[in-house]
Symmetry: C2
């Protein structure tokens, strides 16, 4: 599955934090854009698992959706 | 108990993320200094609970200790 989330990130430290928790979760593929405030994740894990992991960073998740 | 952690924070967004997860955890008192890279928490929760909550933000925790 591929998910996309709009996450408020204001510096590279914010971006790296998201990157780190997604690595720990063990997602197959990801792309994080600070400019677009977008986190795209490809994984076989459920949507809610990924969402909760991102939320636990304390970053504001504005929206999220399953892309494909 | 009062704990102190050295946490890598590079912008106000980083700081706010820590603040948010500590609020969710329900700590009694906290002080977060971006300049000092220091997070001080007063709570009756165990040290490891607070440490794990901070680690789940994806921020690097350089050190931590029980202050009093």
């Amino acid at each position: 599955m591929k998910y996309s989330f709009n996450v408020v990130m204001t510096c590279d430290g914010c971006k790296n934090a998201i990157d780190r928790v997604l690595n720990r979760l063990g997602v197959e593929e990801k792309a994080i854009s600070l400019a677009a405030q977008e986190v795209t994740v490809t994984t076989d894990k459920p949507y809610d698992t990924v969402l909760q992991t991102i939320k636990k960073t304390g970053k504001e998740v504005r929206s999220g959706k399953t892309v494909e």
